[in-house]
Amino acid sequence: MRALFLFLLLAVPLGSLATPVAPPDSAGAPTAKHWFHPRHLLLQTGGGIGMVAAGAGYSYWHKRVSTDVLVGYVPKRHAGSKLTIVTLKASYSPVRLPLTADWQLTPLTVGAYGSYTIGLQNPGEPNQYPDDYYWFSRTLRYGPLLGSSIAYTAWPTSSDHSRSLAFYYELGTNDLYLHSYLTNRHSLRPSQLLTLAIGLKMNL
């Protein structure tokens, strides 16, 4: 319950970014952006990286490749302790299909992520175990992603640039679920490994 509230709370400032700042005399001139200015903002839920996760990212190569940083939150009630999850995500979207003047479909996005979880009850301390006691990390997860998105372009900031808001979903999994599957291919089904993320992406 608190999560949805937080989601909405975070969605409001993101939404306010959608209101274009009137550029009175920049008509015609492409919006110059410093390299460090993020090209998009993200807000999502699920995907194993937070009940709510917010982030920013960059896109390259005609917006086909994207790299994002997200910070996620899981409340104590849902995990036994309050978790903060920092995620790096890279994705590739080969095709963008214009549906109408304003709507655009990205049918396929493939990617990978790595996440680091802060706040685990038993993350493993130095000297807690003999060497190589557990072969896997408790804090670091990584896995593949696959998804789609649909974007609405409605806020022109200049003659050749518009802000857009995309809704996306991602199906993913993580290294430990994959390892479980690879050692139990008779009784686990690939669908049982899946996690779902849904989110909003504001292209600036």
Binding site: L4, G48, V74, G80, N184, L188
Partner: protein, 280 residues
Amino acid sequence: MRSSSQHVRRVGGALVAGSWLMGCSLLESSPNQAYAPADEQYQTSRNLARLAAQPPSHHGDTVRFVLVGDSQRFYDETEDFVASVNQQPRIDFVAIAGDISDFGLGREMHWIHRRLQKLHVPYLTVIGNHDELGNGRAAYQKHFGPLNYSFVYQGTRFICLDTNGREYGFNGRVPDLEWLGQQLADTTGIARTVVISHVPPNDADFDPKLVQPYTQLLRRHPQVALHLGAHIHRFTAGQPFHDGLTYLTAYPLKKRRYHVLTLWGQRYFRLETISYAKVR
């Protein structure tokens, strides 16, 4: 007033819908989350209620149960294990002596439960070191229940307790000797006591500060008939502390072998070993 209460109701509805979405396992907040579907929560108390309701397999003071350890990430084998146990006649329950999961993740506990729930008899678990990784303790509590609990069946007190001291950095509080002492002292209507834990006290993962107080405490209670453990992934039986108390460690599930333990009288027990073939 009216509009504000309507508003509250609308927000409440949205929040309920939101929490349902959060709750569904696909939309996972973290693999370390402590979520279980409502009908899969608190298996320990559910199985204890089933055990209390079912007629005992034997007359008198005899109790007969299956012992196995370390189901961790052996889902193929768990299915075969369940098929084999379901063929055994006159079993009261199945005891899994810890390491239900491999990574301490709730989804693993869900996967194991989905297989163990096909057992014809109740199953009971004790927490293992792998179940305590990350936020595994919280996930275990949600899926199964308390880390320390005891129950009485057929004149036998079974004490199931967390002995995974290393997972607490050997903080001197695990196993909880005060709680254990209280359980051991309660002998009303009890012919014998059986202790089930994951890490046995003669293992390096048991809090070294507590080995002596733990074994002394058990020694002071002559009704303790057996100490059952797992963790070391092989069957052992002996009296490592030379005090007349038998310590036994179970086969791990992946060995496709398990024990059937029959207890009667104060300290009599019979140990049968069952091997089962790979079904596929």
